[in-house]
Subunit: 208 residues, 2 copies
Amino acid sequence: MYQLVYNSRMKTLKQQRGRPREFNEHEVLSAAMNYFWVHGYENSSLDALLKVMSIKKSSFYATFKSKKELFKKVLDFYREYQISFLQSIKEAEGPKRAMLSLLEHTFNEFQNSGNVRGCLLMNSGRECYGRYEDISHQVEISFNYLLHLFTSYIEEAQKRGEIVNTKEARFIASRYVNTLNGLVVTIRVGASEDVIDDIVKSAKEILE
Amino acid sequence: MYQLVYNSRMKTLKQQRGRPREFNEHEVLSAAMNYFWVHGYENSSLDALLKVMSIKKSSFYATFKSKKELFKKVLDFYREYQISFLQSIKEAEGPKRAMLSLLEHTFNEFQNSGNVRGCLLMNSGRECYGRYEDISHQVEISFNYLLHLFTSYIEEAQKRGEIVNTKEARFIASRYVNTLNGLVVTIRVGASEDVIDDIVKSAKEILE
DNA sequence: ATATTTATGTACTATTTAGTACAAAAAGGA
DNA sequence: TCCTTTTTGTACTAAATAGTACATAAATAT
């Protein structure tokens, strides 16, 4: 569900001047994203990235400039992907369902594999905080945009009567996001299933 | 407050056979702990650790065997230190105050420096999860012990009438810990102060 | 065709990493 | 004193790291 893989080649219609590219930028970005998502920024070596991206070093540096620049592109790529995922559910099943789906996805991931990847943006913020100013800044902007998006979802849900409107939407969103952030850590730290179960329940209560 | 520094030398009374150690194991463990706490496991290079520990490589390997073994020792050291910190507050000001103090500490750290170290055990669990089985396992045990400790604190607080006893202590503890875990991530991801403020408020509400 | 442009494959480089080897130092025991 | 034991200081090693250099390949423009 969260795996994004492009299989089409989608060559540009008008051929450029020199030798044509033998890879599709979206495809390799998606592959890099999935690798970073599992391994984090620092722990993704360039060689490993080149392998999953199936391109050679020279092509890599010609296209993405550096590992860091690639990562920044991946973070933007991820945010767009995340947002379009949320929007599609929201339009099909409503704003509250969209938010619940993130929660359920994490819980299912935990139950099926015992593992959980969490949100790449949150992971990266945590990892790069205080070490890579530019990445931290980019994450901050994306985070606040997502928080803003959730707030608008909650306002919409409140109008629909799906969520009580006695509390401020902004703070419902904060608590929801914080509980999700905690959930990922609490799972990875080895909490038992009934503990995780109760945390998921508490997150759902926030959206009531 | 969270900084542990040993200044005394505390040499063992009965001198061993060979050349005596020129460092105190507690001192250097404490220095290593503080470094790991800020930088994480992977991002703490041996050279950097040796520098803050003020010992040479040969002494290091003779005493701690490897970077990983040092880290495991540090994790145990941290847990003991964390528990004694909690116990001392609990005995002086009660169980609920002990739990609130962790929360307030994190918030103050955030306000004073814009930075937050979080709990070394949680950080390590997250970082080492699925990569270093032994460390993950050790963290899991410590985490569950701490959760157990918090549960007993809450039960005591319920008996004292400081916390309502309509909810199960175990789940109050889970939600409290999860909110704290989330708080660290949410701060590092760049949430604004009023968002953080509300999350702290929600954590306090859990303990009511 | 031939020049130009862009992409690719391979070899290299400089730095950093955790960990070792080994001689010298500093203590006690005989 | 001189042997044994343990710690310490310095030099080394082998692997991994991100990034470069450069010749070659594959396309278009003239």
